[in-house]
C-alpha cells in the first residue's frame, strides 16, 4: 500500500494563523455602515397566552427603526429542526411556553436605544398553569404545553424476551440514574449581522449549519431559498448549541423591515437563557447476566425532558435508545425512550446527543454486575464487547471497524503502566 502524503499527518490548522493574529472575523467583529442594533423582548413567564402587545411608544422612540411583532412575520412564523413547534415571534392570541420566548424584536441606532425602547412595549399575558416535571407532564390531565399533548416521541427497541430471561440470570442489577442540565458555554455568544443587497438577504452569523439557517429564514420571510444567503463567520465553538436558530431569523426580519444592516450580539446571560441545553434525563435500568458475566438481558426506560420545544429532542431520545446497551452484545432488550414537553428551558443538541447520559447508566450497571459475579470491570467489558459479525440491539449486523476490544486493550495497557495498577 502506498503511504499517504497528507492524510494521517498532523498538519497545522489552516485557520490557526488568523486566529492567533486576532484577525479572524467573528460575527461580533463585523461592522457595516449605517448599521442598526437588534434586541429582543422575551417573556418572563413560563406558560401563558399573549393577550395583547402594544409597540406604539417603542416605535416613537427616536432612533428606533423597527419594532416587529408576530403579526409582522410574513412567512410561517415557526422554526424547529425536527418539528416546527417554536414561534419566531409569539403572535397575539398565541401561546408562550417558556421563559425567553420572543414577543417582539427591535432595530435601533444604538444598543442603548434598543434596550430603552424594549421597556416601552406593553404586553398583557394571561397566565396558564405550567408543568415542569416530565413525569407529571406525562399524566392524564396535566397542563398541555402543545396541542398534540406532552408526549412528543416514544422510541422502542425490542428484541427477544427480557422478562423470561431475567428469571434465568445469575445476577440482575437495577438502578435509576438522573442527569442534570448542561450549558454549551462556548466562549463566543451568538451573534450575526444581516443586510439586504438587491433582493437578496445576506446573513453573516456563527452557526453549525448555514444551509439549515437559509431554509428557516426563507420559510419565515416567505421568500425563495435563492433569495437568502447565509455566510458562516468564524465560529467560536458550537457543541450542538449553534444548530438551532438564534439571531438568524430575527436579523433577517429586521434587515428586511429597515432596509439597513442590522447586527445582534447576545450577552452571556441572553445566550444562557435563550438557547438550548443538554437534556436532563432519567433512566431506569435493569440488567442481567449469567454466572460467567455474559450479558443476557437489559430493560430500560428513558425519559428526556425537552422543555418547551422539540428542537432535537426526538433525535436525542432515539439516540439514547439505540445506544442504551453500550457497545455490548445483549441478546434480549426492551428499551423505551420518551421525549416530553414541559415549560422548562428548551433542550436540544449537545455533543453526545443523549449518549453520555445512557453511558453513565450502562457503565454503572456493568460494574455492578461484575461485582456481583466476582469478575473485574475490565473482564465483564472485554467479554461482552461487540465484535465483527455480531448484532446490535437494533439487529444491525456489524461487519467491520468494530474497535471496542482494541480500545479496551489499549486503554488497559496504558493505564496499568501509568497508574501502576492491575485493571
Amino acid at each position: 500500500m502506498v503511504e499517504n502524503r497528507v492524510v494521517g499527518k498532523s498538519v497545522k490548522k489552516i485557520d490557526a494563523k488568523e486566529k492567533v493574529l486576532g484577525t479572524a472575523l467573528y460575527a461580533a467583529d463585523i461592522k457595516k455602515k449605517e448599521m442598526l442594533y437588534g434586541k429582543i423582548l422575551t417573556s418572563n413567564i413560563t406558560h401563558g397566552i399573549l393577550k395583547s402587545i402594544n409597540t406604539e411608544k417603542a416605535k416613537a422612540v427616536k432612533g428606533v427603526h423597527a419594532v416587529l411583532t408576530g403579526e409582522d412575520v410574513p412567512g410561517l412564523n415557526s422554526t424547529g429542526m425536527i418539528i416546527r413547534d417554536e414561534p419566531v415571534i409569539v403572535k397575539k392570541g398565541d401561546k408562550i411556553r417558556k421563559i425567553g420566548d420572543t414577543l417582539a424584536i427591535i432595530a435601533a441606532e444604538t444598543e442603548e436605544i434598543a434596550e430603552n425602547a424594549l421597556k416601552m412595549i406593553e404586553v398583557e399575558i394571561e397566565e396558564l398553569t405550567p408543568v415542569f416535571c416530565p413525569y407529571e407532564a406525562m399524566k392524564e390531565g396535566a397542563p398541555q404545553v402543545h396541542e398534540k399533548g406532552n408526549i412528543l416521541s416514544v422510541r422502542k427497541i425490542i428484541k427477544g424476551d427480557v422478562e423470561d430471561t431475567f428469571s434465568k440470570c445469575a445476577a440482575v442489577v437495577e438502578g435509576t440514574f438522573k442527569t442534570g442540565i448542561q450549558e454549551h458555554a462556548y466562549i463566543e455568544p451568538e451573534a450575526g449581522i444581516a443586510e439586504v443587497v438587491g433582493d437578496v438577504i445576506n446573513v453573516w452569523c456563527c452557526t453549525q449549519n448555514p444551509h439549515m439557517d437559509r431554509k428557516e429564514i426563507a420559510a419565515n420571510l416567505n421568500v425563495g431559498l435563492q433569495k437568502v444567503r447565509v455566510i458562516q463567520t468564524t465560529t467560536g465553538g458550537g457543541f450542538g448549541g449553534k444548530l438551532d436558530e438564534s439571531v438568524q431569523i430575527h436579523l433577517a426580519l429586521l434587515a428586511k423591515a429597515t432596509n439597513k444592516p442590522v447586527k445582534m450580539v447576545y450577552s452571556r446571560e441572553e445566550s444562557i437563557i435563550y438557547t438550548g441545553k443538554r437534556h436532563p434525563i432519567t433512566m431506569k435500568y435493569k440488567t442481567g447476566c449469567d454466572a460467567q458475566g455474559m450479558l443476557l438481558a437489559m430493560e430500560c426506560e428513558i425519559v428526556a425532558d425537552t422543555g418547551a420545544y422539540a428542537s432535537y429532542g426526538p433525535g436525542v431520545a432515539t439516540r439514547c435508545a439505540v445506544h442504551a446497551t453500550g457497545p455490548y452484545y445483549v441478546p434480549n432488550v426492551k428499551i423505551t425512550a420518551f421525549c416530553i414537553y414541559t415549560n422548562n428551558p428548551r433542550s436540544g443538541a449537545f455533543r453526545g446527543f443523549g449518549v453520555p447520559q445512557v453511558a453513565l447508566a450502562h457503565e454503572s450497571q456493568l460494574d455492578m454486575l461484575a461485582e456481583k459475579i466476582g469478575i473485574t470491570p475490565y473482564e465483564i467489558r472485554i467479554k461482552n464487547a461487540l465484535r465483527p459479525n455480531m448484532k446490535t440491539a437494533t439487529d444491525q449486523l456489524l461487519e467491520q471497524s468494530v474497535g471496542i476490544t482494541k480500545t479496551l486493550e489499549a486503554a488497559k495497557t496504558r493505564a496499568e503502566q501509568l497508574l501502576k495498577i492491575r485493571l
Binding site: 497545522k12 486566529k19 463566543e188
Partner: protein, 157 residues
Amino acid sequence: MNTINISFKLNGKDMKMEIKPQLLLLDMLREELGLTGTKNGCGEGDCGACTVLFDGKPICSCLALAVNADGHEITTVEGLGSEEKLDPLQQAFIDEGAVQCGFCTPGMLLSAKALLNKNNDPSDAEIKRAISGNLCRCTGYTKIVKAIKKAAKMKEV
C-alpha cells in the same frame, strides 16, 4: 455630553482619544479603534476573552474603564506579532494545535505573554495558574499549556 481626553500607548504607539467617561476599555478597543482581536465572551470578568496587557499585566478589559488607560501602556493581540513576524507564542500555538475555535486565543496569548515576560522557564503548574482566568471550552487546555512551554524555549522567530 462631556468627554475626556486621554493619551496612552497602544501596541507601542502613542495614542490620543476623546472619550466618554463611562466608556469601557474593551469597547474603546473594539468599537472606537476597530481592534476586534480582543473578544467579549461575557462582559463580566468571568471568561478572560477580553484580556489585554495593562503596563504588562493581564487585565479584563471588559471591567476596566477606558479613562484608566490614560498615561499607561496597553497591549492587545494586534500588538503581539504580525503576519510577517509572529510572536513565539503565536507560532507555538499554531504548531502545537492549541487553537480550535480561537475565541479564547487572543486573551490566552496575552496572559501567557505576561507570564513569559517575568518567567522564561515556567513549570506546568505555573502556566496553568497564569491562564486560569482564561476559559477555553474547546481544547481542554492541554495543548495550550504545551504551546506556552514550547514558546518559553523558543527564540524570537
